[in-house]
């Protein structure tokens, strides 16, 4: 078990290294293939108003004239050990993990990401609780009453849920339910209160994004749970459970749902990991200052260091989520052996 975790962690680091190579290649190799020069890359850092001479000096100092492999080494070293940046006026220390400085704000990327992480985590975890409970409950009831009015209605809504984009459902919910609107019970978009400042306000500020995001996922989970339950309730061991004289409630929840939950758990872990890297559409729609919003802003402004930072952080969460899911799998299903 321990050796398994260690091996998986080493693999995870390896995966992240590959992601970093690809990210680096996209941002530094591809532009060169498209005709960019050291100078045109440096222009981003010093601004368009700089003279040709200043750009040349900046390109030299930023190391754009070095071989690519050296540049990647410097980039990777910055993430692991931090880096010293020399813009001209003086040397600035960028502590690890250093993803560089924003072109726009001149601030280092990592502290920015750290500030935004609580928003994204709050959003993802809150929504996850809602969609897991609502999705699984709906799926179970639908499966047990297959073909009933509830089943058909729930599955139609679920179909709408997986089909409607966040920016539609999100805006509709803002128009109908946010502060000052006819059925107001939630904060308007753009507000976020940290949990430790005021938990009630935290929930109030996030309730609409939670519901919007959860609606999308709950729909998928309801369908998944329904088909999983229909399958497990046909298993021989369910018949055995009934033959023992168990009440139907125990048969459904202890024997049926337990069997159907395993694939749901897998997908849940991966979904959560993906969302930790930023719920781009939800954060944009509700103007929440999370990682996803950060990524969108960075892309719009072509702020490369930020984009690279977000990419690697998101990749980190996905790799970790995969590991956690695989470990949980062994807990949930005793037939799984981790070796």
């Amino acid at each position: 078990m321990v050796t398994y975790i260690i091996r998986r962690l080493i693999w995870g680091v390896f995966m992240l290294a590959i992601v970093s190579v690809i990210t680096f290649a996209i941002f530094f190799l591809v532009p060169r293939l498209a005709g960019a020069t050291s100078e045109s890359l440096a222009t981003r850092y010093v601004g368009r108003t700089a003279s040709a001479e200043q750009v040349k000096i900046a390109a030299e100092k930023l190391g754009f004239n070095d071989p690519l492999i050296v540049q990647y080494g410097r980039f990777a070293k910055g993430i692991v050990a931090g880096a010293d940046y020399d813009y001209g006026p003086g040397v600035e220390r960028c502590p690890a993990p250093c993803f560089g400085y924003s072109f726009l704000t001149r601030l280092p990327v990592w502290p920015d990401l750290l500030n935004r992480l609580p928003v994204t985590i709050s959003l993802a975890l809150g929504a996850a609780v809602i969609w897991l409970v609502a999705g699984v409950a709906t799926g179970v009831v639908s499966a047990l009453r297959r073909g009933s009015f509830f089943d058909r209605a729930a599955m139609s809504i679920a179909l709408a849920g997986v089909s409607l984009p966040i920016f539609f459902t999100g805006i509709v919910s803002l128009v109908v339910f946010s502060y000052g609107r006819p059925l107001a019970f939630a904060a308007p978009g753009g507000s976020f209160t940290p949990f430790f400042d005021n938990p009630a306000m935290w929930a109030y500020s996030l309730i609409l994004p939670w519901i919007t995001l959860a609606f999308l996922y709950a729909a998928g989970y309801a369908r998944l749970t329904r088909s999983g339950m229909l399958e497990t309730m046909n298993e021989d061991y369910i018949r055995t459970a009934r033959a023992k004289g168990l009440t139907e409630r125990v048969v459904v929840f202890k024997h049926g749902l337990r069997g159907a939950l395993t694939p749901i758990l897998t997908i849940f872990g991966l979904d959560l990991g993906l969302l930790m890297g930023g719920a781009v559409l939800t954060e944009s729609t509700f103007s929440l200052p999370g990682i996803g919003k950060y990524a969108i802003d960075a892309i719009t402004n072509q702020d490369l260091p930020k984009v690279m930072g977000v990419t690697l952080v998101a990749a980190f969460f996905v790799v970790m989520a995969n590991l956690v899911v695989d470990l949980l799998y062994a807990v949930v299903d005793p037939r799984v052996r981790l070796t």
Partner: protein, 349 residues
């Protein structure tokens, strides 16, 4: 029927049991007018091909079709209580305690995520108000009694950690955990190695004597019922087509279908070069059961009934001493065919 006592119910008695499933294609008549009796300490073997209604019958006795779309009629008397008209909840309290079932494939019939012990403990605690420790001790006892070595250790194993034979023993331990008076075993040895089959059959015989329970063995394997059964009921197309003591069925079978079953049974005392005699054709659709005798399209002797087999459903009639046959051939015709045409072929070496 072999021990008919007028006015008194047998321990288990089925009267004209019908279990029909409405589907989009028509009504599936899985069990269509089945009657039999069984006393404590006796073993009934129910024999037939896949789809003959054997398993549906057993699930019906346990009341597992209640609350589904199945249409059930007739009577099931268990120890003086009628179960078809009883509430679902009442039958549930009898399940596992008064009547229990052993299923065919113990790997799929046990929950893969719970330990063997937990599954036995669960079965015991539904029907007994005892603590976990007491139930656990009982589970270990039961595992020991069905011959699982080191039961105090194996109680915490998962089903996939057991071998096939061990799993079936664990399944039997689970079924017997509440001392059921009626035990139904649905193809209990089909999924097992031949050597293990014999052990499991021995075990079941010993346990039945110990518990003095009524035992129903459902199988397509005549060898299994030859080992265990006192009486044998042959099912075809949801109906009983022959019923009698084990000796009657093996020594003096009277139904062409039973002859076919005997002919398709591999035997060691026959020459290797000799072909088995399979029954031609396939089991009937239970939606469009053939007119007349359900077996007539596959019957080699149908031509000797002057067309009756094609038009009229034969009745289940006593030929002698509790031996019942559902066939249009006369008793003398059947005995003649068996003695002169079938038996010599079966026994020729």
């Amino acid at each position: 029927m072999s021990e008919r006592i007028t006015g008194q119910k047998s321990f288990l008695e089925l009267n004209d049991l019908r279990i029909h499933f409405p589907t989009d294609d028509g009504v599936v008549k899985s069990v269509d007018g089945l009657s039999f009796r069984l006393e404590r300490g006796k073993t009934l073997g129910i024999v037939g091909e896949s789809g003959s209604g054997k398993s549906v019958t057993s699930l019906g006795v346990l009341g597992l079709h209640k609350g589904t779309r199945a249409r059930i009629s007739g009577e099931i008397w268990l120890d003086g209580e009628e179960l078809v008209s009883a509430t679902q909840e009442h039958v549930r309290t009898l399940r596992g305690k008064k009547m229990a079932m052993i299923f065919q494939d113990p790997l799929s019939a046990m929950h893969p995520y719970y330990t063997v012990g937990a599954q036995i403990i669960e079965a015991y605690r539904i029907h007994h108000k005892v603590g976990k420790a007491v139930a656990r001790k009982h589970a270990i006892d039961m595992l020991g009694r069905v011959g699982i070595p080191q039961p105090e250790r194996r109680v915490d194993s998962y089903p996939h950690e057991f071998s096939g034979g061990m799993r079936q023993r664990a399944m039997i331990a689970m079924a017997l955990s509440c001392d059921p008076e009626l035990l139904i075993a649905d193809e209990p040895t089909t999924a097992l190695d031949v050597t293990v089959q014999a052990q499991i059959l021995d075990l079941m015989r010993d346990l039945q004597q110990e518990f003095n329970s009524a035992l129903i063995i459902i199988t397509h394997d005549l060898g299994v019922v030859a080992e265990l059964a006192d009486d044998i009921l042959v099912m075809y197309g949801g109906k009983c087509i022959e019923y009698g003591g084990a000796e009657d069925i093996f020594e003096r079978p009277e139904h062409p279908y039973t002859w076919g079953l005997l002919g398709s049974m591999p035997r060691l005392d026959r020459e290797r070069t000799e072909r088995l005699m399979p029954i031609k054709g396939t089991p009937p659709s239970l939606i469009n059961v053939p007119d007349g005798c359900a077996f007539h399209p596959r019957c080699a002797f149908e031509g000797r009934t002057e067309g009756r087999a094609r038009t009229r459903v034969p009745e289940l009639l006593e030929t002698e001493g509790g031996h019942l046959v559902r066939c249009h051939l006369t008793r003398d015709e059947r005995r003649g065919i068996w003695e002169n045409e079938i038996k010599p072929n079966l026994e020729s070496a």
